[in-house]
C-alpha cells in the first residue's frame, strides 16, 4: 500500500469548484476539492522497461490547480483515466533497476506517456522526437493519460510511489539539489515554449504572467535566444522582483501592459467601444503564461501583425480571436517538451533544463513544501502563490512516512 492524493470523479464538486473556485480559492482547497488522501495499492510496472519511483518532491502545477478548480476544458476528458494521482513535476528515487539505470538513481520524470512508454511503435511525432505531440496517448500498456499525473495506472507525484518508463527517466547529477531538480520539468516546458516563439535576434517579446511558467520562460528566453527587449507582465511584487532578477527589460502590471508595449514598440493604440485597448504594432512575440482569458487577450492585442503568440499556459475559452484574423497572427501551443533545436543542434529540452538548473541560481523559486497530509494547506498556498510571493509549492511525500 502507498499513501497518495487521489483525484476522483465528483460531478457536484466539479460544478461547485467551477462556479466559485476562481473567486474563492480557499474552497477548492477545502470542501470543494475532488481530491482525497488515500492508502491505495502501489502501482505496478506494466511491462519491461518500467520501474517504480519514490518521489522526493512533486510540484503543484497551474494545470493541476486548473483541474482541481474545474477550469480545464472537457477536451481533456478522453485523455485521462480516473481516478488518478496528480503530480507530473517529480524528482524521486528509482526503486527498481530499469535497463541501464540502477535502483537508487535519483531521477526527474518527463511525464509524457508517449509511444515508447506505451510499448508501441513510434508515431510520426514520437519518431521526430516531439513526444509531446504523441498520437497514441490513449492506448498501449497503460490506461489513457496524456501524462503521468493524469493516468490511473501510473500513479503520480503526489504519492509515495509511482511507476515510470525508462523513456521518461532522466538521471539527476549529484550536485543538483532536489529543490532545483523538481523545477527541471517546468523548465523544460518553458524552454520549449520560448523556442516555439522563434524569436529572432533583437526581437521584442511580451511574457504575460510571472508565475513559475512565466518566470522560467523568461529565463529560457534569456538562456537560449537572442531576444531583445522582454516585457513581463506581473501582478505581484515578488513576481516583479523575480522577473527583474531573470532578465526582464521591463516589468509592468496587467493594467499598464498595453501602454508599456506601445511605448516600447511605438505602436498605435486604439480603444474599442467595449473591451480592452489594442495596438496596431506591438511585440514580435507574445507568450501567454498565465492561462487566463485576460492574459491571452492581452497577448493577442499587443503582438504586431504577422507576429507569433505562444500559448504556454493552459488555454481557456472566451478570448477574442479577432486579432488573430485581422493581424494575421501565428498562434501556437507549447505543450510539454521534446527535442529542441538550439544553435543548430538538436537536444532534449530536459537535458537543456538540467544544465540550466545546474548553472542558474534558482534558489527561492521553490518557496514551500508540504507533506501529503497537509494537502489542503498546500493547495491553498499554491492557489495564492503569486500573492504570497511563492513561485512554486511542492509536496514532499517523504514527510508522510
Amino acid at each position: 500500500m502507498t499513501v497518495a492524493l487521489e483525484l476522483f470523479r465528483s460531478v457536484p464538486r466539479y460544478l461547485a469548484a467551477r462556479a466559485v473556485g476562481e473567486r474563492v480559492p480557499g474552497l477548492v482547497a477545502g470542501p470543494l476539492a475532488p481530491l482525497r488522501l488515500v492508502n491505495r495499492d502501489e502501482p505496478v510496472p506494466p511491462a519491461e522497461g518500467w520501474g517504480r519511483v519514490a518521489p522526493r518532491l512533486a510540484g503543484i502545477c497551474g494545470s493541476d490547480l486548473a483541474t482541481l478548480s474545474g477550469r480545464t476544458s472537457f477536451y481533456f476528458s478522453p485523455l485521462v483515466s480516473m481516478p488518478f494521482v496528480p503530480g507530473h513535476e517529480v524528482v524521486g528515487d528509482l526503486f527498481d533497476d530499469v535497463e541501464d539505470l540502477p535502483a537508487g538513481t535519483r531521477v526527474v520524470i518527463d511525464p509524457v506517456l508517449s509511444c515508447a512508454a506505451r510499448g508501441l511503435p513510434p508515431c510520426s511525432s514520437c519518431a521526430e522526437g516531439s513526444t509531446g505531440r504523441c498520437d497514441r496517448v490513449t492506448v498501449g500498456h497503460v490506461s489513457p493519460g496524456l501524462q503521468t499525473g493524469y493516468c490511473a495506472d501510473t500513479g503520480g507525484g503526489w504519492s509515495a510511489m509511482l511507476v515510470a518508463h525508462r523513456s521518461q527517466l532522466h538521471p539527476v547529477p549529484d550536485a543538483l539539489p532536489d529543490e532545483r531538480a523538481v523545477l527541471v520539468e517546468p523548465l523544460a516546458c518553458a524552454i520549449h515554449a520560448a523556442l516555439r516563439g522563434r524569436p529572432e535576434p533583437g526581437d521584442t517579446v511580451l511574457v504575460v504572467g510571472a508565475g513559475t511558467v512565466g518566470i522560467l520562460t523568461l529565463l529560457a528566453l534569456r538562456e537560449f535566444t537572442d531576444a531583445g527587449s522582454i516585457v513581463v507582465v506581473a501582478k505581484h511584487q515578488g513576481q516583479r522582483d523575480l522577473a527583474r532578477r531573470y532578465g526582464a527589460t521591463e516589468v509592468v502590471g496587467p493594467r499598464e501592459a498595453v501602454s508599456a508595449v506601445r511605448r516600447g514598440s511605438r505602436a498605435f493604440r486604439l480603444q474599442p467601444e467595449r473591451g480592452g485597448a489594442f495596438l496596431l504594432g506591438g511585440v514580435d512575440v507574445g507568450i501567454e503564461c498565465a492561462g487566463t482569458r485576460g492574459s491571452l487577450d492581452l497577448a493577442l492585442r499587443t503582438t504586431r501583425a504577422g507576429g507569433r503568440v505562444v500559448l504556454a499556459g493552459l488555454p481557456v475559452a472566451g478570448a477574442d480571436l479577432t486579432p488573430v484574423w485581422f493581424r494575421e497572427l501565428e498562434v501556437m501551443g507549447a505543450y510539454a517538451s521534446g527535442m529542441e533545436r538550439v544553435n543548430g543542434d538538436r537536444r532534449s529540452a530536459f537535458d537543456l533544463a538540467m544544465s540550466v538548473a545546474a548553472e542558474v541560481d534558482l534558489d527561492g523559486v521553490l518557496g514551500a513544501t508540504y507533506p501529503l497530509g497537509s494537502w489542503r494547506e498546500a493547495i491553498d498556498h499554491a492557489m495564492s502563490a503569486g500573492r504570497l510571493g511563492t513561485p512554486k509549492v511542492a509536496f514532499d511525500p517523504r514527510e508522510d512516512s
Binding site: S259, A260, R262, R263, R266, F268, R269
Partner: protein, 525 residues
Amino acid sequence: MTRPGFVLEVDERTPPLLVHRGEGFGVQRFPLGTRVVYPPDSLPALPDVRGSIRHAIMNPLGSEPLPELLRPGMRLTIAFDDISLPLPPMNPPDVRQLVLEEVLELAARRGVEDVELLVANSLHRRMTGKEIEAVVGERVFRSFWPESLRNFDAEDPGGLTYIGQTDKGEDVEISRRAAESDLLVYVNINLVAMDGGHKSVPVGLGSYRSLRHHHNVNTMLHSRSYMDPPSSALHGSAARMGRLLADHLRIFTIETTLNNETFPREFGFLNRREWEWSLRDQAGYLAAKKANDAAPGRIRREVFRRIRAPYGVTGVHAGETEAVHEQTLANVHRQQKVEVSGQSDIMVVGLPYICPYNVNSIMNPILVMCLGLGYFFNMYVGRPLVRPGGALILCHPVPWEFHTVHHPSYVDFFEEVLAETTDPSQIESKFEEQYATDPWYVHLYRNSHAYHGVHPFYMWYWGAHALDHLGDVIFVGGDRRAVRRMGFRAASTFADALEMARERVGSSPTITYLHSPPLALAEVR
C-alpha cells in the same frame, strides 16, 4: 489710486488666510511672523478698449501704422495666443476677439483678401471649434472657420519652413503659412511677465526642432527666473530666434495686458484681502466652501471649469516686437510686482485649480508640479522668495488623475519615466527623444486634442530650477502615492508640513506665504 502690493507680517490680529487647494480652498492660520505677499489691487481697466486698440495700431511703436502695411494682393496671417491664456478664461468678449475684429476690418478696408488666422498653439493641444469661437467671437469664427482659421500643426511636414540658425546655432522653424506671409500680425494676452515679446512667434508657431533649443533643462536652470526676461536664458534664446525671424518676415505685434480681476463676483472674496472681507464676502466664502466641499468631484470640477474672469484690459500696445514688449512688461509689473525684503527658509503657496495646460481638462500631478515648482516658484525678480536649500510647501490634493485625451503622453511619463528617475537631466537624455518622436503621440497631437508627446518633459523641466534650488518640497493634503512618485513628500496638515520642513531648514524658520492668485511677482531684494 490703486493700492500697491504689500507684505503683511502675521500677528495676533491676523485672521486665518485664504489658501487655494486645487478644486477647493480654505482658510489657514499661519505662524506669527509669517510674511504674506499680496499682489497689488486690481488696476483700473481701460474705459474704451476698442478705442485703445485702434489707437495702438494707428500709432504703433517702432513701426508704420498697421494700415500702411496692408495692401491688396498681399498675404496676411494673424496668429493669436491659444487656450493657455488667460487664466481663468475671460468673460466675453475676449480681448483677442476685439483686436482681431479691428485688424480684420482694417484689412478688409485695405482690400486684403488672402487672410488666415492661426492659433499659436505650438505643441499644446489643438483647440476645439467651440474653444476657438470663445476666443475669436462668433463673427470671426463664422467667417473664417475652418478653412482660414485653424490650429497650428507643428508636426505637419509640409506646413513648416526652416528659417535658419541663430548665431548660437539654434534652429528656427515655424509655420510655413506665417513664414511665407507678407505680414504676420501676432495678437497676445500678456498675463505674466514670461509671456509675449519674442516668445510669441518663435514658440507659438515653432516646431519641436526649434523649441528644443530653449525648452530644455540647461536653459531652465539658467533662467532665474523665467518671469524676469533679462535674467532668463529661455527669453535670451527666444529673442535670438525672434530677431532672426524679424530679418525674414514682417511681424506686427499687438500685446494686451489684464488687471487682477481674476475671479467673478460669486468668488469675489478670492480677489480681496481677508481682513477687508465684507459680510457679503464672508457669507460668500462660507457658502461657496460648504457647497464646494459637499459637492461630488464631477460637479465641483464643472463649477470651476465654468469660472470666467471679469478681467479688465489695462493696456494695448502695437508695433515692433521689442518696443511693444517693453511697454507690456511695464504694465505687467505695475499690476503684479511686490517688493519683498530678503528670502525666507520656507515658501508656502496654495495652488489653484487651473494652470495653462488644464483648461477644460484635468490638472494631473505633473501639471501640479509645474504649477508649483515652475510657475509660482518662479514668480520672482532678483532672487527666489525662498533661500537655497529651503523648503517649498504646496497645498494641493495632487490626485492621481489624468485626462486621457488631452494628456496621453503624461500618463506614460508618470508611469514609466518618473518610476525610473525624477532627475530632469536624466529624463531629458534618456527619454525625451523617444517621446517627442513617438508616432502615436504625434498622431494624437495632430488629429485628436492631445498635447505633444514631449510636453510633459517641458513641464518637468519647468521645475528644474526649483528642484535644483530647494531642499525639500512638501504637498499638504497630497495623494501620497502620486507625491512620492514625483520624489516629494506629503503631509496631512499644514502643521505637519511645517514640522517636516523644520527637519530640513531648522527649528525657527522664516516663512513666506505667496498669497496668489491673483498673481503677484515678488521683487526680492
